[in-house]
Symmetry: C2
Subunit: 99 residues, 2 copies
């Protein structure tokens, strides 16, 4: 239960948040989730980590679990509050894989 | 006809390839395409440019052309031949927007 970025979402969704760790850490986190019996895993990332999220999805599906299906890929803009009180927009991606 | 990354695909698809220019260059290329009467524009990127492709899509839709619909978002792995004869896998994204 100490995988990189792993969290359980509000609706019980298994979410892997992509951050600054090496890509393979997140790949193994996703594979471990599916191997533990979970039916659905979401991969989420913001900003420059979006590219890494796509890498994680491609490596998981092409190299480890080729029977997975891509349920959805959504993009969005999130509003981030800066320390000086201003706001910035940052893009985000939400990829859902299912068994 | 000199917009950043603009090309006409084999099937007549209007494609904007995301590269190393500033994000707003590509945003304006997409907006210009739609304003010239095109019904559908594809945004393509590989590797670290994937994050910028998502930024371009979000800025085009949220700030310039809010009536656009997202037709599809696909990811893939592409095989790149290196100069030394080896091959590398690189992730890619293909976002299609329609009027």
């Amino acid at each position: 239960m100490n995988e990189p970025g792993q969290q359980i979402g509000a609706d019980g969704e298994n979410v892997i948040y992509i951050g600054k760790k090496p890509t393979m850490n997140y790949v193994l986190a996703v594979v471990t989730q599916f191997n533990s019996g979970v039916q659905e895993v979401a991969i989420k990332a913001r900003g420059n980590s979006i590219s890494k999220a796509v890498d994680v999805k491609e490596i998981v599906v092409n190299r480890f679990l080729p029977t997975l299906k891509e349920k959805s890929i959504r993009t969005s803009s999130e509003d981030l509050a800066n320390e000086d009180g201003t706001h910035s927009k940052v893009s985000a991606i939400h990829i859902v894989l299912v068994k």
